[in-house]
Point group: C2
Chain length 394, copies 2
DNA sequence: TCACATTTGTTAGTAGACCTTCCTTACTAA
DNA sequence: TTAGTAAGGAAGGTCTACTAACAAATGTGA
């Protein structure tokens, strides 16, 4: 044999991968989170149950449960009622009354919506406050006060504060740009954290929405996209249980992708000329799919024309989503927004268009549905942000 | 405060997350891989260097290096020549001569291409064999023989065999469907593994291409899509260092997304009527972007018309990619295929179209380029499959 | 020239994390 | 009453990575 070294291609000289070391204590933290997550998703169970479903030994689970009980996160709930052979199991469960979570949704330009939730995601207290046109530093102060009010309203220690905000937000919770609020490079998480004295997590509102849907909605598979339709249009994507963040933290920014071309005649019911968008370009998705745009489009139309108009937008959306759904082989696409606009001809047309434009292997297992969380998607997602950040529960 | 429990939304009752336990030995394996990966990417270094860049202590690194030396994967290379203060460092480096990797690319319908590579990804020996129209069981036997020949040709122990094949392939290396080869639910990896006696990893060819580009190409950022244009069109996506697999293992199947509509007039240089595709639908990307389709399109045209025709396809591609690039906020899109077709007007038009149709925050940092690996993308990617599967090096 | 600082790599001891093994407890079934 | 089964805990072992301390080898400055 001839050693034909036909091309120079050594590994050296490449950029370093940002891997980090893993210590045994990280393994411990992971297993602790796993026990917690199991109690969270599957409800109370015995230590032996937990051992069986986690794969850890009963001894280890006992140890983990002991430390979780010491932290007040779980508690023994007495023996299991059903009589089976052997020693009766003592159930342990998440103490949903031990901590609470404060969540805030800033998607609405007019009002900030917030809530206090228990560890199971149940809303305990709901508040909102007017934005009154505040922007920049003033808006940060208003938000701080609002969060403080919510923390005050909690009836037990607050695990953390989660905020879902429009805009591009990095992993540290710094708002890189949020035109609506006039925020540019605002370190929102650290500012709130030092003001409130509790951990604060901030993320894009569409990303919190997808986290909420993933954790509390009926997420079945491994690829989930949530499209949030409000004053703007956004998207959040969870793949293999992890949020897609994007190279510049801008993943999911679908609102300003062009969907209407100048010379446009693709559709039987044309969308009309490409409309100017707030971003300065023309024909962006937001110019046809945002709530204001949809309301304008159907204003004064008779029911039949309304349906046709909505279906027309739906077809456009399907065309836009087809490449995304195919590239990622998603299992679910979920719409979050006003059902009267989204959950009829628009959704049907989008699904039909998606099916027409993708392979059966992609479209046959795809589900396209409305969120099960109503308007609280981003809010409960903000809570998930805290659960995930503080307890590792997703 | 009133405890307003306004909606039933406990966590219980949800499907279990498929989390797995983590043991200290897994941490060990991770740290071992990290040391190995560092030697792979950054080249030889002292134990103290490795300690600094991994964050582990010198003691731990010494221990890891000792076990890696015992396995024959690394070796001491003598003292570092540069004279600095202190005890001279003894360099440790990956022994690229200790193991070899066999890689096979099945993307070509006519010939199977294979190679023996060293641990640095350098091709040591190159072979190919005619497919001769074999399909099904017969094709599996031919592949087995070809792999055995390559394993035979290796001059030192074979770390594993990596295969890149068209089709939908699951994580275990079972080909769920590959029409070109007539393979349906063929457990290719386990079949080859038992025949060859070495670990075998099988993945979709577009996925191996993106792995190759990620590891050996100039992947700079965190989101990479490789579009492979050959007899068909495929794509592979790496996000945050991990391959996107998809709900049904079909991520990247972009070849059969519709890009040409029946009533199509979007473009100044229209693509003509939607062509029938092998998949039974019309207007799929493959009907305009595959190598045969492109060759047909430009056959007999003068240079100027050729450019216009290629640009027209490029614009279509840009329209298709815009939602994907936006949804994932990719940092790089890489084309793999014949440069004479792809690397001119087609690529320019695609980039221009992408920029026109996406937000600046998405497009300004996006790079759209040809692969740096030539035709070996899928081949070196298949080697990465082995490196990653056996050593945890990516 | 010689003491001292600096860096490398190793040895010894410690703390944490999980495991296996064995025991007690408490219940069901015959 | 006796055997069998299951839950939970105690004891001891192994593995992992850490800190502390040290020897070796080199450069630096008085």
């Amino acid at each position: 044999m001839t050693a034909t070294a036909d091309r120079q291609r050594q590994g050296w000289g490449k950029a370093l991968r940002p891997t980090t070391k893993v210590l045994p204590e990280h393994a411990r933290a992971h297993n602790r989170s796993m026990v917690l997550a199991h109690l969270f998703h599957a409800g109370p169970g015995s230590r032996a149950d937990l051992a069986r479903s986690t794969g850890l030994t009963r001894v280890t689970v006992s140890d983990l449960v002991a430390s979780l009980m010491a932290e007040g996160l779980v508690a023994e709930l007495g023996v299991r009622p059903e009589g089976r052979v052997g020693k009766p199991a003592t159930l342990v469960g998440l103490r949903t009354d031990s901590f609470q979570i404060v969540a805030v949704d800033l998607a609405d330009d007019e009002r900030m919506h917030g809530a206090v939730l228990d560890l199971a995601g149940l809303v305990v207290e709901r508040r909102s406050t007017a934005v009154d046109g505040r922007t920049g530093e003033s808006a940060v102060r208003a938000l701080t006060d609002f969060c403080a009010e919510l923390v005050e309203a909690a009836t037990c220690p607050v695990l953390g504060v989660g905020v879902g905000s429009p805009g591009v937000i990095d992993a540290a919770g710094t708002v890189l740009e949020a035109p609506n609020r006039g925020w540019y490079d605002v370190p929102l998480a650290s500012t709130l954290e030092s003001a409130l004295g509790v951990p604060v997590h901030v993320a894009n509102d569409a990303n919190t929405a997808v986290l909420g849907e993933f954790t509390y909605g009926g997420a079945t598979g491994s690829g989930l996209l949530v499209l949030t339709v409000g004053e703007g249009v956004g998207a959040g994507i969870v793949l293999d249980g992890a949020l897609v963040k994007g190279h510049r933290h801008a993943a999911g920014e679908l609102g300003h992708v062009t969907v209407v071309d100048e010379r446009d005649d693709v559709d039987g019911a044309p969308l009309g000329p490409a409309l100017e968008c707030a971003c300065g370009r023309r024909g962006c998705l937001e110019t046809v799919l945002s709530v204001p745009a949809l309301r304008r489009r159907v204003a004064g139309l008779d029911p039949q024309s309304t349906d046709a108009a909505l279906a027309s937008v739906g077809r456009r959306l399907g065309i836009l989503l087809a490449p995304v759904v195919s590239a990622l082989n998603l299992s679910e696409v979920v719409f979050s927004g006003p059902p009267d606009l989204l959950d009829g001809p628009l959704r049907s047309a989008a699904l039909e268009s998606l099916r027409e434009r993708t392979m059966p292997v992609i479209s046959s297992t795809l589900e396209l549905r409305m969120t099960t969380l109503g308007e609280d998607g981003a809010l409960s997602g903000a809570a998930v942000l805290v659960l995930s950040g503080q307890l590792g529960v997703t």
